[in-house]
């Protein structure tokens, strides 16, 4: 690259700096207050960690003085799964292992009874299982800003509003909805559990969703003057598991990216459960989504949701 380009960057930065000086400037007082709060939190965390270490050493020392060998209190996990500055969802967050029965101690929900808000935690996947099933996803950590249900009123759906359900799953706001989101450096996973009034209502919504996805192989959404995303999704057909499911795979395009999308919708009693796995890519380096990915994701959901105490 040339010296000229470096000068261009300098001039561009200077131009932005000049425009900045015509405004209100940086809020020094607010920045200082935020920094002080952050410092207090950091120092409190350091003290808490130091206190735990001192306690562990003291107990170990007391055991030695007493002539016994005593195992000190459990410290941070040493199995390689310790958080590294992010919140890491593990199997202990209430989501049962898909390979076994429920392990959260909650009483089983009677067959046929509608699922309620207190059951939703047991319907959430373990992100570690998703990482294991979908290649190239990496380690997933909890993302605290998971989206809610529905589209912003200003959002326009392409090719027509008839495809809106491709985003929303159900036509109107459900009785209860919860969304979990997990992210990695190379993608993210979103799971949304929507509770309807009863099983019949949920089944009707599932039928309508299936019809919409088949009628809308290409769709998109955007906020006028701002931006959005476009999707090309192949409906791979219904899954072969005990619970009705719809598998789909395709791409999402926008902001110069072409990301792969794997999506499964499952009907269980009065609930619709959607899981979408997105892996980031570039127009010249797309990451293909495969039918095998969709089948693997469906398999995870079937194992989780078709437990005797749930589905």
């Amino acid at each position: 690259m040339t010296q000229r380009f470096g000068l261009d960057l300098r001039e561009l930065a200077d131009e932005a700096a000049q425009v900045h000086t015509t405004g209100a400037g940086l809020p020094v007082a607010r920045i200082g207050a935020r920094a002080r709060r952050a410092r207090r939190r950091h120092e409190a965390a350091v003290l808490a960690g130091a206190g735990a270490l001192v306690a562990a050493v003291a107990l170990g020392g007391a055991a030695l003085l007493g002539g016994r060998t005593t195992t000190p209190p459990a410290g941070p996990p040493s199995d390689g799964a310790a958080p590294t500055g992010s919140t890491t969802a593990t199997a202990t967050d209430g989501a049962p292992s898909p390979t076994g029965g429920p392990d959260d101690g909650a009483p089983p929900v009677p067959d046929g009874a509608p699922l309620g808000p207190s059951d939703v935690a047991g319907l959430m996947l373990d992100p570690a299982d998703v990482s294991g099933a979908i290649a190239g996803l990496g380690e997933l950590t909890v993302f605290d800003e998971a989206p809610g249900w529905g589209l912003d009123p200003d959002v326009q759906v392409r090719p027509s509003d008839a495809c809106r359900r491709a985003f929303t799953v159900v036509e109107e706001a459900p009785a209860h909805v919860e969304t979990s989101m997990w992210t990695s450096d190379v993608g993210h996973v979103t799971q949304q559990v929507l509770l309807l009034d009863d099983a019949a209502a949920a089944a009707a919504e599932m039928d309508a969703l299936r019809a919409t996805l088949r009628a809308c192989p290409e769709f998109g959404a955007s906020t006028p003057g701002i931006g959005g995303a476009s999707y090309v999704m192949d409906v791979l057909g219904d899954g072969a598991g005990p619970l009705p499911s719809i598998r789909a795979a395709g791409t999402e395009s926008g902001e110069g990216l072409v990301n792969s999308v794997v999506q499964v919708d499952v009907l269980v009693r009065n609930a619709l459960v959607r899981v979408q796995v997105l892996r980031y890519g570039a127009p010249d380096d797309p990451v293909p989504a495969t039918a095998e990915d969709a089948a693997a994701l469906d398999g995870l959901l079937q194992a989780l949701l078709a437990r005797p105490d749930v589905g």
Partner: protein, 177 residues
Amino acid sequence: MDERLAVLVAERGPALVGYAYLLCGRLAEAEDLVQEGLVRTFARRRSGLEVAALEAYVRQAILTAYLDAYRKRRRWLAVAHLARPVDGPSVAAPDAVAVRRTDVRDALATLPARERACVVLRYLEDLSTRDVADRLGLSEGAVKRYLSNARARLGPLLDEDGRPADHVDVALEGGPR
């Protein structure tokens, strides 16, 4: 802390905003990045550091915050609530130099976050590829790959003499910082 923060903002605030602007391409976001960089820097005790040293910490924090924010933005792409501001500096740019700056700005906007960060560190801050790798926590080979990809996208902006771009990838002594 407050006095050093105030001095840093007064003396280097606009330059920091300019630096952040090169990374993100939007002035409002650049100002937010600088705020975040300042908070992250002053959230740790930095006793005895002069403004220049503090500025280095803030620049690194801005870079980290930019890459963190970019990852979050990409996470939102699947959500139709994504709002993508399209503002840029509102300075009028009628002359040829300003037109070239517009080309540079538009070209930067085509770069993915890591390529953009590599370009800014390499050609604005005049860092070696090894130093860029250290700043971003990448291997030197990865940085070279990102820069190569960026050159392919930036094309004619980079070579005013008609030579292949890789012939001019040399750190110039006394060149622009």
